[in-house]
Amino acid sequence: MTALLQILFDALSLGSLYALGAIGIALIFGVMRLVNFAHGDYISFCVFALLWPSIDAAAIVFAGQLPAYLLIPIILATGACLSMLSEVLVFRRFRNANPATMMIASFALGFVIKYTLLMLFSSRPKSIDLWSELALPVEILDARIPLLQVITIIITVLILAALVAFLKRTRFGLEMRAAAENFTMARMLGVRANAVILLAFAISGMLAASIGLILVTQTGTVDIQMGSSVMLVAFIATVIGGLGSLPGAVVAGFLIGGISVLMQVILPLEVRPFRDAFVYGAVIVVLIWRPNGLFAPRSAKQRV
């Protein structure tokens, strides 16, 4: 029972990260059919914003020193700004381009962000202590769960709830959902396209920033690569969930998190290094079974 509970928390906390990433990608995909491969680099960028640029091995903590009530808004704003900036400078110029072109443009943008960070901070991963008091374990029904896991899950639930409230209760949210489903029709109803897209980018950037903060707290590491593995799984989750479907993205994110943890638990030692092969094998099976994803929106059109 204790072990089971622990596994459940492991799965939920890993799934949380994937779910947050998947929504960030699904939001953008929904409004402009862009698979934003720079999303992972937004995560890295936000994390590096905690530090002062320096190529020394030891990190010089910068924004990371601020109290949480300042730090969190600043990092969220960093993510939002970077994300909106990339829309204004780059993606806006690709409104009518085909998805492959946009995707490669996003990849090129990510490349630029990554190498800029590399130049400013050197390639050596840096270490930073952010809120390590959160690392203490708490007792839940005899299981000792790291507080951070609990917090990660709670924060994810809160973010999801806030997002749902925003989408369901506000005018902007309504417009965004409409735009995600049928962009042209929404515009013909007077929905301001650029504003909605910009807002989607802002939210997506903030989601990237929150993933970054969770990752740093969890790992204590600031690394160029840290966004990309989350981004990759999140991207897959978005497709499995049904592109453009936000609930689908969330469920698929948790699903992949769950499968990864489960595989790690049940696979015998010799096979365990092959874990990801099983996870990705499962991805293929799901795709063959449901090519439009688990929760394809009714109007889903294949455009890529």
Binding site: D10, S13, S123, R124, T221
Partner: protein, 396 residues
């Protein structure tokens, strides 16, 4: 389209014209085919700086065979195909010693190019048996000590000095280096009477959470005395943080991949954490000459050595230059012959032995650094009781 084609042609001719340069005849040239950009840069650069310090020392003392040592460099961009080009480029510029990237995987393309050209090549700090005869050829060497020696050292030391009996093995499958540490640990374990492996698991360096692996350790009937953590930056920090956060108090044994204090602010209260080091970067090396070197390094680069991986660069030039002096030529075969005669050759950072079977260290003296309340300090020194057999290393 025509414009496109002419543009391409023009640029190409320009680039070809720029690509050629001349080498002077009466210098000895050391070529660095290392990464000045990309992931490996952070590992190559410090070791290369250390190598430069030794070169400077030699030049100031009158040079090598009466000639000055000149250096040329080409950037591998942390890319294998670029690595091969960089190797060819420094050979083209007349290098008699080709220094290649720290890591075997990234260094080997350049080393293979050097081998094909009949030049001596040295890996800055690669710790795989392949960085040498086995993976490149008879003219290739590594300046560091095998990863397996680190794992074996930690196991034997913890068994003897810390009375550890129950071991747990946690392997990060990301690199060959990590596996090497665990291979050495595996080799040592059966030699330690009544030491027991109570469990083992794997993870991937990029895993953001190793919660499942931790759960497995915690469900053991009794916490292990020591966890052999075969991993490296950056994943290792995350792993350690999570292990300690879960309340696992066992001592953690590591390879030199975690050497250096630069990452410790991520884990402010870390204790019972042990690292093998070839020399101390913390200013408390038992050998004052090492502390002297650290000062020199700081003067030259503006910063303290970040980790022990700075040192092999110095060792490399040191042993190569000695071999050249003894051979009285930079001719590759003669230099290799002299290098292979070295047995426990003293260097600033522990003895070096090369034979015609192995151009690497399958035994070595290590300082043991303990991290206590987040502060590193040298607490001991250990040399494994017997060298790890070449056959065992090759088979792995």
């Amino acid at each position: 389209m025509k414009k496109l084609l002419t543009g391409v042609a023009g640029a190409t001719i320009m680039m070809a014209a720029l690509g050629t340069s001349v080498a002077k005849a009466d210098d000895i040239i050391v070529g660095f085919a290392t990464a000045s950009s990309g992931f490996m840069q952070a590992y190559d650069k410090p070791a290369q700086d250390a190598a430069m310090i030794r070169i400077d020392e030699i030049n100031k003392a009158g040079g090598l065979l009466g000639k000055q040592i000149k250096t040329v460099a080409a950037d591998t961009k942390t890319d294998r195909a670029e690595g091969a080009k960089a190797g060819l480029e420094v050979i083209d510029k007349g290098a008699s010693l080709v220094v290649v990237s720290c890591d075997y995987d990234f260094g080997s393309p350049a080393a293979l190019a050097a081998e094909a050209a009949g030049k001596v090549s040295f890996f800055l700090c690669a710790e795989s048996i392949k960085a040498g005869i086995q993976g490149v050829g008879p003219h290739s060497f590594s300046a560091s000590v095998l990863a397996a020696v680190q794992g074996a050292t930690m196991a034997e030391w913890a068994y003897n000095k810390k009375k550890a009996r129950n071991f747990y093995r946690l392997l990060d499958t990301w690199t060959e280096y990590n596996k090497g540490i665990c291979d050495g640990f595996d080799w040592m374990m059966p030699k330690l009477k009544d030491a027991k492996l109570v469990g083992q698991d794997t993870f991937k360096n990029e895993d953001t959470s190793i919660a499942a692996q931790i759960t497995r350790i915690k469900s053991l009937p009794q916490q292990p005395d020591a966890i052999m953590l075969c991993s490296m930056m950056p994943g290792v920090v995350s792993a350690v943080k999570q292990i300690r956060a879960a309340g696992i108090k066992s001592m953690i044994l590591n390879g030199s991949g975690v050497s250096g204090g630069y990452w410790l602010n991520a884990t402010p209260d870390l204790s019972d954490f042990y690292v093998p080091d070839q020399g101390s970067v913390y200013g408390d090396d038992p050998n004052p000459a090492v502390n002297e070197f650290n000062k020199k390094y700081k003067a030259a680069t503006g910063g303290d050595p970040s980790s022990q991986y700075v040192y092999p660069g110095y060792v490399m030039i040191d042993v190569w230059a000695k071999a050249v002096e003894r051979a009285k030529t930079t001719d590759a075969d003669a230099v290799v012959k002299e290098l292979e005669k070295m047995k426990d050759e003293k260097t600033l950072f522990g003895p070096r032995t090369f034979t015609d079977k192995i151009h690497h260290q399958n035994r070595g003296r290590y300082l043991i650094t303990e991290i206590k309340n987040g502060k590193p300090g040298v607490v001991d020194e250990w040399t494994i009781s017997e060298p790890i057999p070449v056959e065992y290393l090759v088979k792995k």
